[in-house]
Symmetry: none
Subunit: 451 residues, 2 copies
Amino acid sequence: MKKILKHVDSNMNNLVSELQTLIRQPSISAKNEGLEKCAQLVKKTLQKAGIRSQILRLGKNIPPLVYGELRSKKNPKKTLLFYNHYDVQPVEPLDLWESPPFSAKVKGNKVFGRGSADDKGELITRIKAVESYLKIKGDVPCNIKFVIEGEEEVGSPHIEKYLKKFKKKFLCQGIIWEFGHVDSKNRPIVGLGMKGLLFVELISKESIRDAHSSLAVLIKNPAWRLIEAVKSLRDSNGRILIKDWYKEVRPLTKTDLKIIKAEPFDDAAFKKEFGIKSFVGHKKGFEAKKALVSGATCNVAGFVSGYVEKGVKTVLPAKALVKIDFRLVPDMDPTQQAQRLKKHLKKKGFGDLKVKIHHGVAAARISSSNPFVSQVKNAADESYGQSILNVSNAGTGPMHSFVKILGAPCISIGSTYMFSRIHSPNEFARIDLLKKATKCICLIMDKFGKN
Amino acid sequence: MKKILKHVDSNMNNLVSELQTLIRQPSISAKNEGLEKCAQLVKKTLQKAGIRSQILRLGKNIPPLVYGELRSKKNPKKTLLFYNHYDVQPVEPLDLWESPPFSAKVKGNKVFGRGSADDKGELITRIKAVESYLKIKGDVPCNIKFVIEGEEEVGSPHIEKYLKKFKKKFLCQGIIWEFGHVDSKNRPIVGLGMKGLLFVELISKESIRDAHSSLAVLIKNPAWRLIEAVKSLRDSNGRILIKDWYKEVRPLTKTDLKIIKAEPFDDAAFKKEFGIKSFVGHKKGFEAKKALVSGATCNVAGFVSGYVEKGVKTVLPAKALVKIDFRLVPDMDPTQQAQRLKKHLKKKGFGDLKVKIHHGVAAARISSSNPFVSQVKNAADESYGQSILNVSNAGTGPMHSFVKILGAPCISIGSTYMFSRIHSPNEFARIDLLKKATKCICLIMDKFGKN
């Protein structure tokens, strides 16, 4: 094992250079930009590492999935699956980037660029861990599978179909999730769950054209109507006012609450990082941690109407649009929640608004008593010195589909520094953490293979 | 009088040709384009008509004002002032113009071009009315003054300063406003007022950067905060909820109500034009007309926050911005209303929002019993066959500054066909209305001079 970890150490320049190559290939799923090219690049990267790789497809207009497989000679009965994605978030606002988002600039301990952390940085640690094992041992301690999709940043609309269609190919006994955060004290988070998401768009249209605002005495303002509709969804402490919204919420277990209590959380550092003075609803300490793990939200992700450039324009807009994302927790059902939202709007007099459901993903949360948990936790402790158990990530991914379809436990562990500005300008990955994560994956493979 | 009106008739080719010359000189105040040249051209046009003219200035970077004066030999004690502007709106979108915006193409009864109606068309009728009087009588029935500014289309930021500095020069007993609309049945509107305007921008900032929306359990959303703040300003029927907002509202007089009742208004045609089914607060007929004349509004002119492009982005925005225009009615004071708005926001817990006051203009409304009203109304009836009294235009202009500083009543009457596409591509003036307006101005001078 030592030799393998040493190989990781001596191979970091190569890891960074391959990460740069991946970053330099834009792959913005929201704009369908560069996806095919990036999938081919990822396939090549897997093959170069000694992993058999192929492009899987569902249909012509659906971004392909890159599949990788490596059988263990010694232990062909156990399979570990790595889930990652090759697509990235849009880069706007462009003017806030200090170096171009796809230039992959390295500065000291950091690799900058869109996708550097989320998720190309995570992907490369896994590929390189497998490569190091192969280089030193000529074998891997368990079968390895890679499932690398291209639509994670737009809500993985087809991952469930991929999982269903290629279920046999993907079967495994453990899944390592696409990312894992590392806190400000270099402790990785061993995550046992993900929240769900319901992303919707509401559109209000009144007049057939923009009008002079002097006519606001008579013509209804669609921005006003959206403001009223959106305001009816949530109180100012963040509690969602839609009927039965919280009905199916699975309560936290005693062990869950213990894990939450044990989790470190630096209120002050968090606030400083974002330049804020207080949290929503004046939450503190344990309450703040509990909210991150199990809080449902109704977030305005975007709102636009009328004239928003510099200066004055007395216009009465014809149209207004809002994008809202609801974070869901176990066991809310996205389809049912969408229906509740529509019912609420109708009841409150906003039945005329156009409601577009972009997508819904259910939350997932595995039991803390599953043996896979201690394997991953021990590997993380060895590689990073210490690690933190977390009942559920505050974010969303299609973890529910993996757990449900493949019937295997899923844990997130990775290299992403928690303030690495994912989804924001100047996203970066820390090279020291990329190294630790790569070693951690080697150790997980080892422990998982032995048990 | 007949001879004068006949001179107007026979002189229309000349009027149209001078209007074309004015249109061909671009003068876009929003872009500071051609203003100085246009001011010189207007000065020359006045002088050619026999009106003494000079360029007045406030400072180096402020567009000049063109002043014109003609003393009456017979009646030097009464003065009528024409307020106009030589600047025009920008021409974008250029591709929608059927002929170039400054080509001043004449087609049948129409003169096309930016400024053809607003306001060069109105200006030329007034100059030509004075010229006809002079040509036939060798005198005018009262002193005539012209105040022609170059910043009306950007909100007349310096007109009050001009009025104060040149108050003595501008003193008069009656003011004719820069425009007047003519409805689809060729009835000119004799307007006795204009609403005021308070244009503000509210900015909410929470985090110092956009964050992943999973953090919405803890970080406040600035769009949410603006939605809550804006929602607190107005109920869903349009009534403004800011304390004392309506305190100084001058009630409509019995005569005002009679005038409103007599005003024609086609609910169905209005709704069809804008493709709407009902008015704000389910107003109908008289209530709708009353709202146009005397309704205060709180209109969302623009709102932007977060991701508003196509598709999905789970972002928690760092900033949100709303632009609001409040139409004011007599005797609301814009400065006081701005203070009330700020106080309201503070009281409701939104004291942290940045409030930017773009500008404030008070409303003006002269008494319908003022003798100037019947002089203008009678002149309009004679020239157009019939006319419509209107207590106040729904829009805003600096009428209050004129009335307050010069201490004279002000009425709007003119030649602008209500569908003449002012501020839009393919703006035009109707030659038949230019003729009627010119005659109307001759008749106003006559009646005003006699009384």
